[in-house]
Symmetry: C2
Subunit: 341 residues, 2 copies
């Protein structure tokens, strides 16, 4: 590691920094590339070219979520001061070398809050209104009238009390659901959740919920937070929604819980291995609704990320404090502002 | 017709009326049957037995929606003063004999408002978040990441400004959608819709909407309100949601509009013929989401209807004005209260 060559932990030393932008899936430059290039000397590169481009870089914009890309190129990052990750979850980007180095990490905090909240509400209503069940009857041409569930008054336990969890809590509350949170710190006066139970004791609280929503960052504390014990504590009618990270769930335990009717259904946007391997049973289970890690990707999301990055680049050039800093030890945004609700 | 034998158009003449309750699909009595039987002499009957039971009835509770049941039994209804229909739409119950007779008709106004509003929101989100598209990819084991639509800011035009339409407008507004109504009377200061456009000019306004929602009662004015012209005016990305009555839509024109990509998708809970005939193309269209006329049926709906009926039975016995009277000429509830919003 070459941390000694980083002359200062404080950004903004250079009036014209050298910036490396990892391009996304062969897509064109950010829509505001001209404004970015006004402030910095920019090199665009694919993940493969990162090792070559990194030695001269002061700052790096990582558009994709390929785990290990930065870690493999890390020995070449002699003067890097700042990494901006164009995602909410930074678990795949953090590694010991980056954690220990005087390099600031920022993320796309906020960009995905409202889109993911909407996705969760969609999953809640699809379950309560049996939209997937109706589609199954449609496929076999069967007219089968059933009784649906009134969504207002249903109980939702949201694991993860960061920005996305809060946006979700507010949206679900607006539709009349009863919401609680699960987080590190127990409390009963949270402005968005009211009651927050300790996620370390999830098994004792999971039985309360009709919908259990996972939006927590993946950290050593949250890995496997939904295990066989939690699943056994859930209602047989309950619905699990995972929009956080696949490894929050013990997937084999979830398969078993669904197959033995311990819980009713799961809507999963994230998986321990992505893309979801073709032999995985989730693909073929009627009670599992698979989507391809896309719940926060709404049309225009790249532009929102690019706007946010440009704002931080101005701050970097001017030597001001960067927005949306990541706590590299905890593995998620340092401060979550609590909006007035 | 034996209207002369109805001694008075005013209910409440008899201290102990004779009441016929049409039982639903062989289900047991209403949960509050004891309270009902305290107030009236009750005969329970299947639709087939209605002709036999009706001659002595002062009042009738119709639980089901079999069109024509009452009409066929009508010649026997010598002393009937009141019909309560346990549904929001009364189109299948109204016929000339009933319309012309001094018989009050009331309906289940309000019971379905919030449940149907939730169903519509579920259909909106399922479309914007591509839940059915994801299910299609899941079925073939394909991991395909796409961009979704941000629902807040999408435009919804709701055809039908009665109680259900208003509840839907309020719920969709709470989630951030931009809502307008289409009704008989044009206005721009409606408390729930803001702008209400004339439904007689729907073709001129349909192009504004991302989601076009049909919740109007079926009347001569609304029959076929969504025809080929309206469909041609809609956005290619638009989504039609019908939770009103099937005959509000020209179904062959809708099939063609979907097959030629004039519009993107349709979520249909109601059909011109129900159950939807097995040869109907809707069953086999990926862009059509079929459910079995159940969008308002949430667990406990029969109890809510029974509560509402008992309240009106008290009023009937006491000679007071009945709640939720139907305007038999217009074919829907006479007065729609506008709640504070």
């Amino acid at each position: 590691m070459e941390t000694a060559k980083r002359t200062s932990p404080h950004p903004g030393q250079s009036p014209r920094p050298r910036l490396v932008i990892q391009t996304i899936d062969g897509a064109p430059k950010p829509y505001n590339a001209a404004a970015i290039e006004d402030l910095a000397d920019v090199v665009y590169t694919t993940p493969d070219g990162l090792g070559t481009a990194l030695p001269d870089a002061d700052a790096l914009l990582l558009w994709t979520r390929f785990a290990g890309v930065l870690q493999r190129a890390w020995p070449a990052a002699h003067r890097l001061q700042w990494v901006h990750v164009a995602a909410a979850g930074v678990d795949s980007v953090l590694f010991d070398g980056l954690r220990d180095a005087p390099v600031s990490v920022t993320n796309a905090h906020g960009v995905y809050d409202a889109p993911i909240a909407e996705f969760v509400l969609g999953a809640v209503l699809a379950h309560d209104k049996q939209l997937h069940v109706s589609k199954g009857f449609q496929r076999v041409g069967e007219w089968r009238r059933r009784e649906l569930t009134r969504t207002a008054g249903q109980r939702v336990l949201i694991v993860g009390t960061g920005g996305i969890g809060r946006a979700t809590a507010r949206l679900l509350s607006a539709v009349g659901l009863e919401v609680r949170g699960a987080g590190r710190t127990e409390r009963d006066d949270d402005p968005d959740f009211g009651t927050v139970v300790p996620s370390s004791e999830l098994a004792e609280h999971a039985g309360w919920a009709d919908h259990l929503v996972l939006i927590a960052p993946l950290t050593p504390d949250t890995r496997g937070v939904v295990d066989a014990r939690v699943l056994a504590a859930m209602k047989p009618s309950a619905h699990l929604i995972n929009v956080g990270r696949g490894a929050l769930v013990d997937e084999p335990a979830l398969v078993q819980a669904l197959q033995t009717d311990q819980i009713a259904a799961a809507s999963l946007d994230v998986f321990a291995t992505e893309p979801l391997p073709e032999e995985h049973p989730f693909w073929r289970m009627d009670s599992v609704h698979v989507s391809a890690h896309m719940c926060g990707d709404v049309t225009g999301w790249q532009d929102a990320v690019a706007d946010q990055f440009l704002e931080n680049l101005h701050r970097f050039v001017e030597g001001r404090e960067l927005r949306n800093p990541v706590d590299k030890e905890r593995g998620y945004a340092q401060k979550v502002p609590v909006p007035a609700s």
